[in-house]
């Protein structure tokens, strides 16, 4: 039954690891702003169409 020592030690080590990860995550500042990222993720990647405007402006510059 002394396997219980090993099991509990492992479980505590895992728990300590998670506590460490939590504190590290908080310290990095990623929880300081919990609103903006939720909006940001909804923006679509813009479709990069070969855009007329851009070409035009380059031409204008060359003139």
């Amino acid at each position: 039954m002394s396997v219980i020592y090993i099991l509990i030690t492992i479980s505590i080590i895992v728990a300590v690891f998670f506590l460490y990860a939590f504190i590290k995550a908080v310290r990095s500042g990623q929880y300081d702003d919990d609103y903006t990222p939720s909006v940001r993720i909804l923006f679509d990647d813009e479709i990069k169409k070969p855009n007329k405007n851009q070409i035009k402006t380059i031409e204008e510059k060359q003139v």
Binding site: S11, L19, V26, R27, R40
Partner: protein, 797 residues
């Protein structure tokens, strides 16, 4: 497509200004330009996320020239290296997802910007850029040109970066780690008390639990020991004393238990208690990151100002570097940072910021002008008399009276209760101990610790934070932002309400002018306009601004009769403007309105009415409040409106006029000396002393993102008529707290009686402990929501 409102900013379009572009209509050229910029750069997605998200760009010509100054830029930058600069800018206009989108795509509008990231709750954008390709000034100008003008003030300049305090989160993390693991490790002993298996490993489990409880006991709960120590030292008994005592006693008792093998101790309850109490603290710590409650003149002042050198060239200097004798240029809408003498011919200075009076005052060359005024109109030049720190406004601010924090510190309801609770508890424990020690020493120690542990004011410490935290959130949703939870308790105790007049019970918006009578044609308007031009009377100036610009004609004859009106002759027409007595044609004479009557060529045409706009619902609000509170109106203006206000408001309302900022403060002080709990509601800097002195200072604001004086709460002006509801709601919140106190007391009595008779098994105790916490927390949350809802269904009176 809605033709009524501007495609860019959503404002109503007045027909004559409407501009069509790209099949969309805009209210002004500014909005159209922003749209053009976006469409040229393929950024019209901006309008997809939210309809009409923009703001009209303001004219910023020359305003940010000070950003050419290296020293100033260096101080504003967050990070500076040869190839990378980072700056955080506060932009009050950030309000929707479109804003986030456009601000995070800044690199498409200007090369040199590497990335930009928005922090929405703080309304800040953090821009990384390459200094070789662009500059801070260019970025700020770009932002302003697309309607996102950043706010840069002296405050940014002084205290660079603020550190964020995250210690409470760490403490909660540690407390939860300890709590969770201890609960898990305690289970074997809850279920199987006398089996071989558990007997074998009992010691191991107990010492492990002891070890895990240490971080929670020493780190997470440390705040309570500090607070308890401080309160003992200052001779005040607060709620943290019994809490700290309870925790320490639990810890010592449990340690003794496992050392002498009496039992498993109470580490599970102890860590659970610490975790829940910290959670309550977090709940209460709701802050409005985008609002600032501690503002002083620094947040209003510009960082730099244009100085004219001896050779006539212009340069920008930091406000702190301004010296006596310097010559400064003040542009339209710029704040005058120091006292000085006007050199330009004349100036119109709006002192609303200092006095609350919205009408601009005219100054002539050689007049003294004071810091805090805002120049309206063309650029003026002034000579400095005092440096910033010696100017009237800053002196006023540094004045002791204004600085004085109210010393009579508010006692929270929990503090008040614990004043009786703590001695009673200690007395009870001590006397029971004395009683038992003669009978049985062992029982004596048991009883002593049992009383301290069971009576540990867990519920007391939890109900207030959870109730008030929830109320804070509900009020915030209704645009009433309070600085912290104690303000709610104070709100419930208020018995006197003091209102400022200008800007508080009246709106700050420009006094609306309406015309009554026979419509005037173009020619008549032209005559009127030219007659007004020569007059310096405040009403004339306002009317002159109101009438559309006309061709300039010089009057052949012009006469101004002070206190009556104007008589002018233009191109053979005679024009008479002024009071009803002056025109001698009027019969009606109401006090309610300020009027300017018009007579052209001897024919009475009509009158321009200047409405002083009181806020909507003012009368109802005052009548509603008058039943329960003493009401006072404290105004910096003259008593010109006394009669109107007397007619409009309940008789019991006290009206006080001609109050300078210091006098307002003393008036509040006088009321407090009479034993009143005063709430001051004001807006301008002129109220700041009174707001600081009063028990609660509420600042009212048309736009909560712009700047209000230091206060305990900020109320959105649109919610003004709901003050009555807010007052009632705060009282209901306190009622909820008392009810849950009674509930938790019942829990304690039941639990204590079981514990004393020895009928409380560890398992039952372990279930009841979190259960009681959960019932109390859900009880207060539900009650506060119910109170908020019942008041919503009632039509706002």
């Amino acid at each position: 497509m809605d033709t009524e409102n501007c495609f860019h900013c959503g404002n109503e379009i007045s027909k004559k200004d409407e501009i069509f572009f790209d099949e969309k209509s805009f209210c002004c050229n500014g909005c159209k330009t922003v749209y053009e910029i976006f469409s040229q750069n393929d950024l019209t997605c901006y309008y997809d996320f939210q309809a009409a998200p923009g703001a009209t760009p303001q004219d910023i010509q020359g305003k940010y020239d000070f950003l050419d100054n290296e020293d100033i830029v260096t101080k504003l930058l967050e990070f500076q290296e040869d190839t990378t600069h980072i700056v955080s800018l506060y932009i009050p206009h950030i309000h929707c997802s479109s804003c986030i989108w456009i601000l995070e795509n800044l690199q498409k509008l200007q090369s040199g910007i590497v990335t930009s990231q928005v922090n929405f709750p703080e309304k800040k954008v953090r821009v990384t850029f390459q200094p070789e390709q662009t500059s801070l000034k260019k970025i700020v100008e770009l932002l302003s040109s697309i309607g996102y003008e950043p706010y840069i003030s002296l405050e940014n300049f002084d205290n660079g970066k603020k550190d964020i305090d995250r210690s409470l989160i760490y403490k909660i993390g540690v407390a939860f780690f300890c709590f969770g693991n201890i609960m898990l490790l305690s289970f074997p002993e809850y279920f199987e008390v006398e089996e071989y298996w558990i007997n074998e490993y009992r010691g191991f489990f107990r010492w492990l639990i002891f070890g895990i409880s240490l971080p929670s006991f020493f780190y997470s709960a440390s705040g309570y020991y500090v607070s308890a120590y401080k309160s003992v030292k200052s001779g005040l008994l607060n709620i943290d004393i019994p809490i700290a005592l309870g925790i320490v006693v639990m810890f010592v008792r449990s340690t003794v238990d496992i050392v002498f093998d009496y039992g498993q101790g109470f580490f599970d309850s102890m860590t659970g208690l610490i975790f829940f109490m910290l959670l309550g603290k977090l709940f209460q710590q709701k802050t409005y990151a985008f609002l600032s409650f501690e503002r002083d003149y620094k947040s209003y002042f510009p960082i730099a100002i244009t100085k004219v050198l001896a050779d006539g060239s212009e340069t920008s200097v930091q406000v702190y570097d301004i010296q006596k004798g310097d010559r400064l240029l003040i542009r339209n809408q710029e704040l005058i940072p120091v006292d000085g003498i006007l050199i330009s011919e004349n100036a119109y200075i709006d002192y609303s910021f200092v006095t609350g009076e919205a009408v601009a005052i005219e100054k002539k060359s050689g007049d003294k002008i004071f810091a805090g005024g805002k120049q309206m109109g063309k650029i003026i030049e002034m000579e400095v008399l005092f440096s910033v720190s010696q100017s009237y406004l800053t002196q006023l601010w540094s004045n002791d009276v204004f600085q004085k924090k109210v010393e009579v510190k508010h006692k929270t309801v929990t503090d008040k209760i614990s004043r009786y609770f703590t001695p009673a508890l200690l007395g009870l424990a001590f006397f029971s101990f004395l009683y038992w020690i003669f009978i049985d020493t062992n029982t004596a120690f048991n009883v002593f610790t049992a009383i301290l542990i069971v009576a540990c004011p867990c519920a007391l410490a939890l109900t207030a934070p959870f109730t008030l935290g929830n109320v804070l959130r509900i009020l915030g949703k209704r645009k009433f932002y309070l600085k912290n939870a104690t303000v709610i308790e104070q709100l419930a105790q208020v018995d006197t309400l003091v209102f400022d007049k200008t800007g508080t019970i009246t709106t700050n918006k420009k006094t609306a002018i309406t015309y009554e009578g026979i419509p005037l044609n173009e020619h008549e308007l032209k005559l009127l306009n030219n007659a007004l031009r020569g007059s310096n009377h405040p009403l004339s100036r306002r009317l002159y601004d109101f009438i559309p610009a006309q061709k300039k004609i010089n009057p052949t004859h012009f006469e101004e009769i002070i206190g009556k009106g104007i008589f002018a002759e233009i191109e053979g027409n005679t024009i008479k403007l002024g009071s009803s007595q002056f025109l001698k044609t009027m019969t009606e004479n109401t006090h309610k309105k300020t009027k300017v009557h018009v007579e052209i060529n001897g024919v009475y045409k009509g009158s321009y009415v200047f409405n002083n706009q009181y806020r909507e619902g003012l009368e109802q609000l005052f009548f509603q409040l008058a039943k329960k509170y003493d009401l006072v109106i404290l105004s910096g203006d003259n008593d010109g409106e006394r009669k109107i206000l007397e007619k409009m408001l309940p008789e019991s309302t006290i009206l006080v006029f001609n109050q300078r900022p210091e006098e307002k403060l003393h008036y509040i002080e006088k009321l407090q000396n009479q034993g009143k709990n005063v709430m001051m509601i004001g807006d301008g800097l002129n109220d700041s002393g009174a707001l600081a002195q009063s028990n609660i200072g509420i600042s009212i604001s048309e736009n909560v993102n712009v700047f209000s004086p230091a206060c305990d709460g900020i109320l959105d002006a649109s919610q003004f008529s709901k003050i009555g509801f807010f007052m009632r709601y705060s009282k209901n919140a306190m009622k909820t707290i008392y009810m849950s106190f009674a509930l938790s007391l019942a829990y304690n009595v039941v639990g204590l009686s079981f514990a004393v008779t020895g009928n409380l098994s560890p398992l039952v105790a372990a279930i009841i402990m979190p259960l009681s916490t959960i019932t109390i927390v859900s009880f207060v949350t539900i009650m506060t929501n119910i109170y908020a809802r019942t008041d919503r269904s009632r039509p706002v009176p």
